[in-house]
């Protein structure tokens, strides 16, 4: 188990940031979703042992987050959302210093700093002062300083904020590589659902400090039993009309038909209609929910 929280409640005065939250998350890449004020940051703080909780218990990497905070932070790498810098140093020293703060020897930290800067693509700029870096470079620098000590768990808080598409892709690629190829567990907090979907296999949706949805993304994106995505060789307009006449609900975007067959019918109905109208079907598959739908549905129910 990567981490588990049991009935955790955390309040700031009158505001309840985490409300009797219980969740158990297996190792791997976990997306942390939720609207602003849903408790994502408080949850990350709790996991890192930075704040005391009012009630509840839990563990991260089998360490109690209430009593073993320092040991937890040795095993965890964290890249905060905000722009944070150790000032007046070149990046190679920045990352080495981050390693030394975790407990690495000076020599190890410096050697490792060179390695991870190469890995995140800042090798060429390693001797530049960090203040002169662009937003994208600073994000990669934060990532490098978070993984310098080779943590078991990496927590990325909004790592693609303010980045251009190319830079965003690079960060996502790095996060994917670390999580899927290097055996590093990942907690990926983001507002951008496609980012979470492209990196994580597991997702937690928070709302008002409560757990709204949780599970494998592939399972959450359930298959609709009566809805299908259909692509035709010809223009879909005529065939859409034919399906509507047969009692189907049809929506179409460009060349894609979204067809909901009546209760009791199956996809065979679509095949039959195509045969009768001499339409050539290029693809037909059951429709799945997108992560966006899952998220909106969870938030709506809250």
């Amino acid at each position: 188990m990567l981490f588990q929280l049991e009935n955790v409640t955390k309040t700031y005065g009158a505001v309840t940031a985490l409300n009797n939250l219980s969740v158990a998350v297996p190792s791997g890449a976990v997306g942390l979703l939720g609207p602003n004020g849903s408790g994502k940051t408080t949850m990350i703080r709790t996991l890192l042992g930075l704040i005391p909780v009012d009630t509840g218990s839990g563990s991260i990497l089998d360490l109690d987050f209430r009593s073993q905070q320092l040991n937890i932070r040795r095993l965890v790498g964290f890249a905060p959302e905000d722009e944070c810098l150790f000032p007046r140093v070149p990046s190679v020293e920045f990352v080495a210093y981050a390693g030394e703060l975790v407990g690495m020897s000076t020599k190890d930290a410096l050697q490792r700093s060179h390695e991870v800067l190469d890995y995140v693509g800042l090798g060429e700029a390693r001797y530049r002062q960090v203040e002169s870096y662009s937003t994208g470079m600073k994000q990669r620098l934060k990532l490098a300083s978070a993984i310098v000590h080779d943590p078991k768990l990496l927590i990325l808080d909004e790592p693609t904020n303010g980045m251009d598409p190319a830079g965003r892709d690079e960060i996502l690629q790095l996060a994917r590589d670390l999580a899927h190829n290097k055996g590093m567990s990942l907690v990926f907090s983001s507002h951008l659902l496609p980012d979470v979907e492209s990196v994580c296999e597991h997702v937690i949706v928070l709302g008002a400090g409560k757990l709204l949805a949780e599970g494998k993304i592939s399972e959450l994106k359930q298959v609709h039993r009566h809805r299908y995505e259909v692509r035709l060789k010809a223009e879909p307009g005529v065939f859409a009309g034919r399906l509507q006449a047969l009692g189907c609900l049809v929506d179409y975007r460009d060349d894609l038909l979204l067809v909901q067959v009546p209760d009791g019918e199956t996809q065979q109905m679509i095949w039959r209609a195509a045969a009768e109208n001499r339409e050539q079907i290029r693809s037909l598959r059951p429709q799945r929910s997108t992560l966006e739908e899952v998220f909106l549905k969870a938030v709506e129910h809250a």
């Binding site: 932070r73 905000d82 030394e100 407990g103 190469d118 890995y119």
Partner: protein, 381 residues
């Protein structure tokens, strides 16, 4: 694109224990600090007094050994009574104490300058660049952070105070070629180190507290300068005003007493000379009486307490026991000149623990400020 991209490699080294985590901050801070040419120049300048200290201690060593080499340099020691110079070994501790006292007075100035150069950015820049989450998301407690930052100030103050003291002490020891000097003066060296610790704890925590109050290190530096200069000026002005008031009152009384009984007109030259002699003697006694009164009133004069540097200096004098050395040297003076000699040379006479309490109060206040300011930032956003 690198020629050979090895990708991400796992690291299998061991991490050090939590207890030494502050050391990483100190080491990094010293490394960054030493890159500044202003710091390097300040360090070099601060070692000049150590050269003078070593020089005078060496002269004393040669004087004790009756070396002829020291003869041309004797005028430099003209402020000492000839009786002292005739038997220097008897006044070794006093001479060394006063030399170290002067040295520490200079070094206190350089310490304040060094704190001014090094200190303001220590926390304020972390606040400005939002570095707190980078520290506290790592296995780092607030106490580690404070101690690490204090360690940076301690390292530089050590280079200003302790290292030169040690070097000058060793040089003085080598020139005297007498092991008894170690027995007589080792306490001085320990006092220097203790004084360094006091300055580090007091000035260090005070500067860190000031640094945590602003994101702009220039404001912090200005505040430090104000604290240092303004408090010194206020303390000195109040002390001078107080002394001058007493001096005027004293001499007004004396003048009135002198004029109350007019002297008889001398009838011959001898009588005139005797009258002049008596008047001189009377004035000297008056001066001596004034000096004795001043020394007495200095014991309860709180005004120097207003000076931050003055308080540090008072602690230094107490640690070195400078007053005892001045008293011993005063004994070699004529009786009617002792009080004046002591008044002219000795520093503030109020109890040293007044300064200790003042500095302890400032230390406590600094800790409270640090605790409050850094606690509120112990968060991720």
């Amino acid at each position: 694109m690198p020629i050979f991209d090895q990708g991400y490699q796992h690291w299998s080294g061991t991490l050090s224990s939590h207890s030494m985590r502050w050391w990483a901050i100190t080491r990094h801070g010293v490394r960054v600090g030493l890159r500044s040419w202003i710091v390097r120049i300040a360090l070099l300048l601060s070692w000049i007094p150590a050269g003078f200290l070593a020089f005078f201690l060496s002269i004393w060593g040669l004087l004790e050994r009756k070396s002829e080499l020291v003869a041309p340099l004797l005028p430099l020691l003209g402020f000492l009574d000839p009786a002292v110079l005739e038997n220097p070994q008897n006044y070794r501790v006093e001479f060394w104490t006063l030399c170290f006292d002067q040295f520490l007075a200079f070094e206190l100035f350089f310490s304040m300058v060094m704190v001014l150069i090094i200190g303001p950015s220590l926390i304020s820049q972390d606040l400005r660049f939002n570095a707190m989450p980078l520290y506290f998301s790592r296995p780092m407690r607030r106490i580690d952070y404070f101690v690490g930052k204090l360690g940076i100030i301690a390292a530089f103050l050590g280079l200003v105070l302790v290292v030169p003291s040690l070097m000058a002490y060793v040089l003085g020891l080598l020139f005297s070629l007498d092991l008894t000097i170690l027995r007589d003066t080792l306490l001085l060296l320990l006092s220097c180190i203790a004084y360094g610790v006091v300055i580090v704890l007091s000035a260090g925590t005070l500067m860190l507290a000031l640094s945590s109050l602003s994101r702009n290190s220039r404001f912090v530096a200005l505040f430090w300068l104000g604290l240092w200069f303004v408090s010194s000026i206020v303390g000195a002005v109040l002390k001078t005003v107080d002394t001058e008031q007493r001096r005027h009152a004293h001499f007004r009384r004396v003048y009135e007493a002198e004029n109350a009984e007019p002297m008889a007109i001398p009838t011959n030259r001898d009588e005139q000379r005797q009258q002049q002699q008596a008047r001189r003697e009377q004035r000297r006694n008056i001066e001596e009486e004034f000096s004795a009164n001043e020394l007495k009133s200095a014991k309860s004069n709180w005004r120097p307490l207003l000076s931050y540097a003055g308080n540090l200096s008072r602690i230094g004098q107490a640690l070195l026991n400078t007053d005892a050395s001045w008293r011993r040297l005063a004994e070699s003076r004529p009786e009617n000149n002792r009080q004046r000699f002591m008044l002219e040379n000795m520093g503030p006479q109020y109890p040293w623990y007044w300064s200790a309490i003042t500095l302890a109060g400032l230390f406590g206040l600094s800790v409270v400020v640090l605790n409050f300011r850094i606690r509120s930032l112990d968060r991720l956003k």
